[in-house]
């Protein structure tokens, strides 16, 4: 079955831009986790995650984001989330995760 999640990265001088397209759910979570954690381990740089193409996330994906944030903080780096759709932003607010992440 083809993946419903596409993740692209683009390295800048000061940060890594990660663009997410599709759904982060229980089916795509492992793929998302491996890629995101891989970026953190490889680049040791701030992440800017562009969520313009992110259509769906639930607690599975939120948990991965939280763990990713913990990993980046260990390296003294941070994660910024950008272009959250309204339904995604609402989830971050309801769970209180909007207080953990920089959200633009």
């Amino acid at each position: 079955m083809p993946s419903e999640l596409i993740i692209r990265e683009e390295l800048s001088r000061d940060y890594l831009k990660v663009s997410i397209t599709g759904d982060i759910d229980i089916y795509t979570a492992q793929e998302f986790k491996e890629k995101l954690y891989g970026f953190i381990d490889t680049y040791n740089i701030d992440l800017k995650i562009d969520c313009l193409g992110l259509n769906y996330i639930d607690s599975t994906g939120l948990g991965i984001f939280v763990e990713a944030l913990k990993k980046t903080k260990l390296f003294g780096k941070d994660i910024q989330l950008e272009n959250l759709k309204d339904n995604i932003r609402k989830l971050f607010i309801i769970t209180g995760l909007n207080k953990l992440f920089i959200i633009k």
Partner: protein, 134 residues
Amino acid sequence: MESITDKIVLIMPFKADYVSVARLTVSGIASRMGFDIETIEDIKVSVAEVCNRFVGAGSKSADSFKIVFNISAGKLIIIFDSQDKTLKCIFNDSDDGISLSIINAFMDNVELCPDNSYILSMTKAFEGISGNGE
């Protein structure tokens, strides 16, 4: 209690592959019922959170769990069940905190571990209509 006009049943394997099918199904039902887009998204996530829990728990004695969508004029009542009754009280430990908080925030009435034959029920009513069984 408002009478149920229609019922749609999904039989789901304990596999992550098909949770998106449950989301699509409830999205179609909620849209047809007339819920707005924001509410449809809320219901989709809530259904998926429960499905995720079933998939995560798995079962040694059953090969599927069931989602029953009970449609009435004023509300959508979603019931989850399985022949494996050890799955009762499927939200049980501290790991479920975020998941439960999402479901309780998005749905009007959530019954966990009910004293009935099913495992979990959740209701979404149109504004102005009680989400409880009244």
